[in-house]
Every structure is written in C-alpha cells, then in structure tokens.
C-alpha cells in the first residue's frame, strides 16, 4: 500500500508528491556552557519538532484549503527509527506515531553483512516486538511520526513549461 502524507483532513495526492522531502528539526532551548577549565556543561529546556515538508509533482497539492489557524494533525511520510534490544527484539516507540492502516510500525533486521531485511512488528502499547530474522545481528523498529502542529502558511508554485508543481509547508509541534 502506498503511504500517504496527511495534514489535517488533506491527503496529499500521490501525483502531487512524486518528489517529496520531509525533515525533522528539533527546536527548543539548548546551550553548552563553557567553564574556565574548558568543560562543557549542557543545559536544555523544552524540545519540540519543526517539520519541513516539500514536494512536487504533476498536480497541485491543494494546500490552500488548509485552515492554518487551527491546530492540525500532521501524519508524516518519512520514517524514523528506534534501535531495538537485540535479546528481546523490542523497542519502545514514541506515542506520537501513525497507527492508520498501512502506516503502522515495522522492523528492519540487519544481517552480519549489513544487509537489511524487513520484518514485522507486533505492538503492545508503545512497545514494538520485531519478528525474529535468522542471522540478524541488530534490529531497528521504524515508525511514521504523527504530530499535532501549528502550520505556517504554505507556499506553492508551478512551471507551465514542464507542467510541474512544487509546494512547501512548515509545521511546528504544538
């Protein structure tokens, strides 16, 4: 099943997102205090995520229909990974993830030669248990993040010459 990027009630059509890029940037207070002795002391406060999504395709995305003055749910399309404990093949995933059909977590098993093998994941709460893969030396649980965000007003453009359209929107976790 093809994964679909969603923002609020808007599902970005596949033809509008043939080329898609999504970046996750942590935002929040973070500083390193350097002492006279040269030691660095790290200080941090809250941490949220800024998600920048851009894409393009043969059709416009329809982002102008979004009400950016309300909080929206951003169901992301670029997966993130959490290493699993080898012995138990378990990893605790963040609660803020997609659970819709076709977008549930899955696993990757790494063989000794580094090659990855897809494997299924079973969820119990936020704990994902990956199916065993023979010869695996490491496992990773992958998931698609989902955030409640404030969206900045999107931008879009198009090129008549090659009938292509590009769009971008930036969201920040509430």
């Amino acid at each position: 099943m093809t994964m679909i990027l969603k923002l609020g009630t808007l599902e970005i059509p596949l033809l509008a997102a043939l080329d898609l890029e999504q970046s996750y940037e942590p935002i929040g207070g973070e500083a390193i205090f350097r002492t006279v002795g040269g030691t660095g002391l790290k200080q941090a406060t809250w941490q949220k995520t800024r998600i920048t999504t851009s894409g393009g395709g043969w059709l416009p995305a329809g982002l102008e229909s979004l009400n950016v003055n309300a909080q929206l749910t951003l169901a992301c399309i670029v997966p993130r990974a959490v290493p699993a404990v080898l012995a138990t093949r378990q990893a605790t995933l963040p609660a803020t993830r997609r659970t819709d059909t076709g977008h549930t977590p899955w696993g990757i098993a790494y063989l000794a030669d580094g090659s990855p093998v897809n494997t299924a994941a079973t969820l119990a709460g936020n704990v994902a248990t990956l199916d065993a893969v023979s010869g695996a030396v490491a496992y990773q649980a992958l998931y698609l993040p989902q955030f409640t965000v404030w969206a900045f007003r999107p931008t879009d453009s198009g090129t008549r010459g090659d009938a292509s359209y590009r769009w971008q929107f930036v969201c920040e976790e509430v």
Binding site: T39, Q43, T45
Partner: protein, 804 residues
Amino acid sequence: MTTRALFHFDTDAPFIDAVGHTVTTTGTPALSTATGQFGDGVFQHDSGGYLSIAGSDLVVQSWESYTIEARVWVASGNASSDQMFWIATDDWHMKLGIYRYANDPYWYVLASNGSAGALLSNTPLDLFDQAVHIAVCRDGSGTVTFWVNGANHGTEAATAAETDAYLYIGAISAAHPIKFEEVRFSTQALLYSAPFTPPSAPFLPANPAVLVGEEISLPLNVTVGEIGAPALPLHVAVGETGTASLPLSVSVVPPGLLLGTQSVCIGQGTDGAIWTAIVTLDAVDVTSRVVGEITVDAEEGTARIAEFTLRPANGTVVDLSAYTGRPVTIDVADASTGTPRYAQRLFSGVIDTPDLDTASRLLSFRCTDDLQGRCEALDNATLSALIGGYASSAVFDAAARGWSFANDQLSTVPASLDISPLGQLRLTPWAAKSVADLVLDDTRVRDGSLGVEIADRAGLVNDVTVEFDYRFPRVKAEMYRVEYEAVNMTGFAQWILDGNYFIQRAQVEAALESAGATIDQITYTPLPTTIIAVGSGYFTPSAADLELCMGFLARVTFDYAQTTEEQHRIRVSNALSIAAVGARQSTLSGALEGEYPDLLAVESGIRMYKAEITKTPPKDMANAVVDSTTSVDATVTSETDRAAANAAMEALIAMAKVQIHASHRRNRVSASVPLIPALDLDKTLRIAADGVAAQGKCARVAHRLSLETGEAISEVQIAVCALAGTGIVHDDTPTAAPDGTTAGTTMLTGLPQVVFNYGATQDHIITITFPGVEEAERANAVVALPSSIAAPIDENEFTITVEP
C-alpha cells in the same frame, strides 16, 4: 522509592487509593466502625469481598525491589476456620497475607516467593486483637523477607518478576474478618532489611498528595546543625474576620540542591541538565505563556527585582492596572523526567509595573519583593529585634518608622537586610564566614566572565571624628565659714570707754543675705551677762544686749546652677588602614542638651527652701560642705539625660565603625556560573578560578533564565574586604560611650572679708564680702573630652595570580 498504592481506609464509598488508581470493589467490603489506630476506621472484608486497582505502574520489573506492608488486627477466638486476607496480584506472584489453620491458636504471615507458592512465617504468632505491622520485602535479586512488628519472620530466595498490572486487597474466604488499615505497596523500595521499629504514624507516599476529603499527618523533623534553637518563623496575615489558614507547602529536594553543590541547571555525571521555570501569577501557573528571558536580580540594600514576559492567549481582555500588586513566584525545576521536580524558589513578590507592547501583544512585568513595603508594615520593636543596632533620638529622627527606621538602625550595624526568595525578611552580617558556603571554581565559572574591581582610595574612610556636645545643668553649693570677733572680754571695758559700738545681730544677718548668702548656721558671742567695771563706772547688762554681739561664727552657702558642656571628640579609626593608605577622614557630629526648668527659678527655689520660706524641697540640691564647692547633676528628662547622651555617642561610634567597614568592602569579584538557585545574598562564596582566589559575602546575584535558548545563568558578585592579609586581626574597641564629667567637690580657696565700722564716729555698718565663683569651677562649664576607638575590618582572602 515509588509508592504504587496507598490506602488509609479512613473513608469508604468509595475507597480511596492515595496514589490515584480507581478502586473497584467486588462483593461487599465495608468500612468497620471499629476504631483504628489512625484515622476513622479500618477496612474489614467479608467473605469474598475485596478491592482491586489496575495500572501499568503496578508491574514490577525483574530487577526491582518492592515492599508491601500493612497494619492488621487479627481477631482472637474462632478456632474453626482459616482466616485469610490477601494483598496480591492476580497471579499471586506478589502477595502479603494472613493465614490461620483451623483450630490453630496461632496465625502466620504469608508471602510469595515469586511463584504461585507461599511461604509462611517461621514462627507462629500469638498477636491478637492488637495492631500488628506486617511487611514483605523483595530485594532486586528476588529474595523475599517478611517482617512482623519489625522482627524477621522468614527469608526465601525467589525468582520471578511481577508483570501483572493488578493489585487485590481482600479475602478469598474468611469466616472471621481481619481488620486492617494502612496498606502500602512501593517499588524500588527495600524498606526493611534489618530489625526495625514499626512506623507509628500513617504511611506516607514517596510524593505525598492529599486528596480532597483526606487528611494525612506530616511529621516534621528539624535538624539543628549547630548550637541554637531551630526556629520556624511564621507570619499569618488575616485580612478579615474568619478563620486564618496557613497553607503549607513542603518540597523535598536532594540536599545537594539546597547546599548549592548541585543544581537542576547542571547535569549530573554524563547527563546534561534539562530544566524548566515555573512562574505563577496570582497563584495561577502561567509558565506556558512565558516568552523570552526571566530575570531575577538581588543586590544588598535593595529590593529583589524580577522581570518576565507573557504572551496572553488570543482574545484575552487585558486590564493592566489589575495586575499591579498581584503575587508572583518564580521557581526553577528539573525537567529531565518530563515532569517538573525539585522546584526551588528564585523569587517571591508582587507585580510592581505591568506593561503591554501592543505591537507584539506581549505583557511584560517588573516585580519586586517589596522590601521597603514589608518594613513599612512592621513596627519599630519588630524591626529593632531583627536588626539590632543602636538607637538614639538625639541622632536619628524619633518619629522614624518602617523603612526609614530600618535604615537608621542599619547604619549602625555591619549587615544587610533583604528578603529571601521564599519571602522571609532576614539580616545577614557583612562578615564572611571562615568556611565558604559554596566554592565556584574552574568547573563552574564561565570562561571569560571573571571580573575584579578594586575599591578606589578616594572612597576609603579609615579615620572618623565623632563630635558630640552634651550640655546639661549642675546644681552647686559653696559653703563658707565666716568668723568675726569685734571685741573679747579682755578689751571689753576699754571698748566701752572708747565709745565703740557692738555689732547688731540683725546687721550681721542682713549683711550676709545682702551678699547673696544663705545662712546655714550662725552663732553669736554674746555680751557679758554680769556687771563689768568699766573705768569709773559699770557695764550693766540689759535686755537690749540680746540684739547685740561681740562676734559671730556663721556657715553660709551660695547655691547656683551652672550649665556644663562636655565636648566629646571621639576618634574612630583603623590603624592598619591609615598605615597602608594614609588617613582618609570623615566627621560625624551630634549634640544633646539636657532639658531642665529655668535655672534661675531653680536657684530661687533652693534659697527659698533653705530660708524656710517654702517647705517643698527642690528637686535637686547639692549638699553643702564647709570650705568646699559641692555639685550634683540636675535631673533632666529621660530623653536628654546621661543615658541618652551615651546612647547617642554609641550610635555615632557604631555608625563610624560601619562607615569604615563599608568603605573597605567595596572590592568586587564577579563571575557567571550555571544557574544555582542556592546562590543568594546570605551566602559566603569563594571564587577560585583563572588565577583569582577571593572569598566574601555575596553582594549581588542575578539569575537569568532563557527558556528559548536553554541557557540558565547566575551572575554573582562578592564583596571582598582585604587590607593587611587574611589572618590579621584588627584592633576592636568595644562600642561604648566615653566617660563624661562627674559631679564632685572642690576646695574653696578664697576667704570672706568682714569689715565693721565700730568707731563712735563711724557709720557702724558691717560689710561682709565673699570671693567670686572659683576659677576652677568656672572652667568646669566647658570640658573637652577626647577619646579613641579602634574600628576593625574583615580580612577576606583575595589573591590574584597572573597565569600564562
């Protein structure tokens, strides 16, 4: 230790778990009306009745220790049935219970070994109809031990973790109910590993939270670190009639945070620090609306100031004036677990100035701890008890109150008054402690932030002249002996033949009185009382002779009042400072005049009394001594007497000492460190970094918290007093007024002169003249009294080593 379930069983319908789980009942467990050891009742289950709670936090990991404990009452009698109750998980891997065999006069504590099996206490128990403390403890390796009233009743190795997310309290079957109260289940808690005294108070959770309708007692343990009396000052202000409440907040934090050796803004070990601020406005948490930087600035002698900015929610109606005076608190807390903990107060105060930026929609607040206002609300007795010092209506304004009075007192005390972050008024001596409360070294001081400011010579004071003039009246009395013999019996006959006159007694008294003297005593040499042959005739005594005399001896006094002026010139100085930098002089002055009725009226009153014209003795009168001038200090008002003069001089001396000390502690060493809430104006700090080693009282601390950049900084300044080197002890003369003059007695040096014109052709007038006031007595009117007082200063560590 984390408490997972806690039941006091003081109420039912519903039963309450103090940790917060929803309690489900099965069957009809009920609250007994029997009186429990604590609270209102006990839980008594009936046959098949039990409580249950559920939650993922009830799962025990294989490596976790836990403790289940309860206080139970086992009823005596009934030998026919088992009596059992359980505190257990659904699969029985974790349980504590009571077991009694049929017809067995005893009972056993029952615990789990990690499997579905059960262990019985190794000793049968004959403890009926009384509160018994029972507990089962499992350590991290799985060994289970159970305890009865603090004694070990069995140990067994066990294995399994507890993955069941349920807990049951109640009966599987019971013919005779067990009563129990106080049930607690805690993980990461091996509470009992050696014989112990059972708790005598209701169980407390690791993080006490009192639910609505529930009461708990919170034992308070105050440890006194040094000789003295622990004090818990409380101040309750009742604004209107009714019942005053005293909300009490208790925050348990690791001791390192209180001492400053740790900070929520400094990570532990290899972890970074994740911190957050907690800002409340009018008791409402507004942290989520705070933007920008929060600053808290405290400096000696001024109120603590805080500033922060809020972004109100859209649609908020803002009434700026309504914010003024609203209470504000600012805390900093650890946020590494996602939930703020170990909150420490940085500021308590009120909003002084609200401001709205209409362009950015930001509300900014400047807040104060209202040091001046707090002092204004206190009476002088309270301020005096807090500050101490020297008071004098001759030096300070007697009508001063509140902040003005406090400043007057503070001018005589080498200390600073401020309000703590928790809102308590406190006095901190300038003298640094011998051992610093906190050391800020290379591991704390920000690179490039160290600053040193040396006090300029022009601002130094080491030689203060206190000029104090005290004028007051003294009552004096001169007593002269006046002795005169005009004629004696040897020349008596010739005296008469010569036609000379005898002295009239009345003339003598008139002459004395016209000279201004008061006759104290007078005796006359009478004329003969027998017939004396005179030439060819005779002298025959007559009644008129009683008015005459041949001579007299009198004691007379002159009473007068004199204003004495003592001119005290007290030099308060520090010799070592003068030797080092030369004399840097200053002057303090004051004066006092003794209040007394008009002196002329006083003198008249004495004379009238001595002349027995009036029977009312004067208030003050010198006791005359012959051939002497005696004096006595007049009784002046209590506001102007010797004690008041001494108090004034002591206040001035104290002010001079404070002036000298203050001028020498203007050296400042400053540094920036990661925010340490314990840094405050009452601390002695040692800064040892980058070649600078200095110790002194904290004179200023500014906390800056930026939630957006993540930076939390404390900028500190210490006041360093350094002159001759650490360890040097300066001379210190006690602050005491110098002695003044004393009323005394001096000898009269002059003599009265008596002239009697006794010849037949003379005027027969007797004239008596007395010397004027003794020159020495006249000189006593103005007396110069110089004295010296040594004023000490501290010697703090202060070295600077230039390093490559």
